[in-house]
């Protein structure tokens, strides 16, 4: 790298730092500020993951308990991975402009992200229940548990590490992909900085870089925070399974 380029990189690093440390950027009242964009980002992401959980978890629990739709459970995650997030976001936006049902700014993005989060949540939940030791379930039935009790008191607690691992993967994926929404709407949270900075060319590069750093930080923090949530939520006996499930499933989450 030549001296000139070296200087340019140092200049960029300095500008980025200046951008990030500007008190105005941290003004909680400014809609262009980092706190607002972060909250906007999390608002979209959390809405999407909650919606995905509400839709996928009960269905997967039910189907897995009844041993139904196994082929669906194993293939849905692969198909989900094959769907390009960018295409899906644009497609949901397009459908929203045509139906006029949900506006064009918030919900199309949230719904597209929900669709992306459904497969990993569904498959992990399904697999988690199916992998509960059959002997344990049999023993529970033998002691007179009803089917609903078997599901709620045996299968669900024992499956919870893997279920949470699936939700965690999906959540990180959603947080990462929310940024792409900045291309389609005025939302997109922290992705806004990257897209806006990009449009401003060389002058926007500090913004792009700062946005990218904020985005990466938010995603890693979201991942770490979810790890803590897992520790708090999980019963003592299965906590160790969570780590293993997480490592085993950490695939297909790039957005």
């Amino acid at each position: 790298m030549g001296a000139a380029e070296d200087g340019a990189v140092r200049q960029l690093a300095g500008d980025t730092l200046t951008w990030l440390t500007d008190p105005g950027r941290w003004d909680v009242t400014s809609v262009a500020g980092i706190p607002f964009r972060t909250l906007q980002h999390l608002g979209v992401s959390v809405s999407a993951i909650l919606l995905a959980c509400v839709l996928a978890v009960p269905l997967a629990l039910h189907l897995a308990h009844r041993r139904r739709a196994e082929a669906l459970a194993s293939s849905v995650v692969n198909i989900g991975r094959a769907i390009p997030s960018f295409g899906l976001i644009v497609l949901f936006w397009l459908l929203a402009t045509r139906t006029g049902w949900v506006g064009t700014q918030f919900w199309p993005l949230v719904l597209a992200l929900t669709a992306l989060a459904l497969p990993p949540v569904f498959t992990n939940t399904y697999t988690a229940v199916r992998e509960v030791d059959a002997a344990t379930v049999e023993a529970a039935r033998g002691m007179g548990y009803t089917e609903a009790q078997v599901l709620r008191r045996i299968e669900l607690p024992l499956a919870s590490p893997v279920i949470l691992a699936g939700i965690r993967i999906a959540f990180v994926q959603v947080v990462a992909t929310t940024a792409i929404g900045a291309i389609v709407t005025n939302g997109g949270g922290l992705g806004r900085y990257v897209v806006d900075g990009f449009a401003r060319g060389v002058a926007g590069r500090p913004t792009v870089l700062a946005g990218a750093l904020l985005l990466a930080t938010l995603t890693l923090l979201a991942d770490g925070a979810f790890g803590l949530v897992e520790r708090l939520l999980l019963p003592d006996g299965v906590r160790d399974d969570a780590r293993r499930a997480d490592v085993a499933n950490r695939v297909g989450a790039a957005g």
Binding site: V31, W93, A96, T97, G100, G103, T104, Q105, A182, I183, V184, T185, N186, R192, V195, D196, G197, F198, A199, R200, G201, V202, A203, G204
Partner: protein, 323 residues
């Protein structure tokens, strides 16, 4: 019975992967990924011209919206037809990306917009008329080694658009009328608009409006936001097809924050020097035939799903500029 002895497993294991790699590499080679698929490289030998001097490849570039890409294609194909070697770096991005590219020689040719080039590119005052604008632009580009060619009659300027319903409700026909709306207005433009005198700064500083800016990169998304009532005003181009729809209204720019935006080809001077007046004559000839109606037609055809290179090629053939 199958022979129990077969080829070595490693060889069997690696062969298809290697083959796949080669196949993909081959694909990459002949489908040059540097090139936007919209742009089919014409064969330089196509043209009948034999008196083209040897010279560098002319890298044609464009902004990241269809009209600009179509215009770039028009000039590129015209040059190719005449026998000049042409390369393409289309859809490059905003002016913030194209002008540095032009200055450092990564690209050689760009169909510019006169007023925006001056105001946004060089921070100059908006020009009063086309001729003085062209002179000012030439002066600004001089240091970068770029030559400004004769502007075309075609104009495509920033258009500040609202819905007819909103205009009627608030009694608005000009941009200035927006000042009367209580609580100010929300305005959506592309990201770069926020810092431009011809855009947001024109509204706030030129008209003194109370504007909340929403950054929405793509015009379709801005239009969607306008129609959904998320914003009151959006930025479009005056040649965009939906402006013909009666449900939309382009507000009049009484203060003249939008400068004359004639299409003006700019080209690196070293390219002009290498190929001489014939090249300039050819490009001027093309520019002369580009009118605002033509631009509107281009945008319409684009919205019908036609590729930029096809729209450009059809038009050039119609005009008898290639053959």
């Amino acid at each position: 019975m199958r022979s129990p002895f077969r080829s070595r497993p490693v060889v069997r294991a690696l062969a298809p992967i290697a083959a796949l790699g080669l196949l993909l590499a081959a694909c990459g080679d002949d489908g040059d990924p540097e090139q936007t698929p919209d742009a089919q490289t014409g064969d330089p030998d196509d043209g009948a011209a034999t008196d083209i001097p040897d010279g560098p490849e002319i890298v044609v570039s464009s902004f990241n919206f269809p009209e600009s890409t179509i215009l770039a294609e028009v000039y590129a194909q015209a040059m190719e037809d005449a026998g000049y070697p042409v390369g393409r770096e289309l859809d490059l991005g905003t002016r913030e990306l194209t002008l540095p590219g032009l200055a450092d020689g990564q690209i050689d040719f760009l169909p510019e917009y006169l007023g925006s080039a001056l105001v946004t590119g060089f921070g100059e005052e908006p020009p009063g008329d086309v001729d003085s604008g062209a002179d000012a632009l030439q002066a600004a580009f001089e240091a970068d080694g770029v030559t400004v060619l004769t502007p075309a009659p075609a104009v495509n300027s920033n258009a500040f658009v609202t819905t007819s319903a909103f205009a009627e409700e608030n009694g608005v026909t000009t941009i200035g009328d927006l000042a009367d709306i209580d609580g100010g207005i929300t305005f959506a433009g592309p990201p770069e608009c926020e810092e431009r005198d011809t855009c947001l700064l024109g509204l706030t500083d030129g008209y003194g409006l109370d504007v909340t800016f929403e950054s929405i990169q793509e015009p379709a998304a801005r239009l969607a936001a306008l129609e959904a009532g998320d914003v009151d005003l959006i930025l479009l181009f005056s040649t965009d097809a939906p402006l013909a729809d009666e449900r939309l209204l382009q507000l009049e720019d009484t203060e003249g924050i939008v400068p004359p935006e004639n299409i003006v080809p700019v080209i690196r001077t070293e390219v002009v020097d290498a190929y001489g007046d014939d090249l300039v004559t050819l490009l001027d000839e093309v520019s002369a035939m580009l009118t605002t109606e033509v631009l509107t037609e281009f945008n319409l055809r684009s919205s019908e799903g036609l590729a930029p290179d096809q729209i450009a090629g059809d038009w050039l053939a119609e005009q008898g500029l290639v053959g």
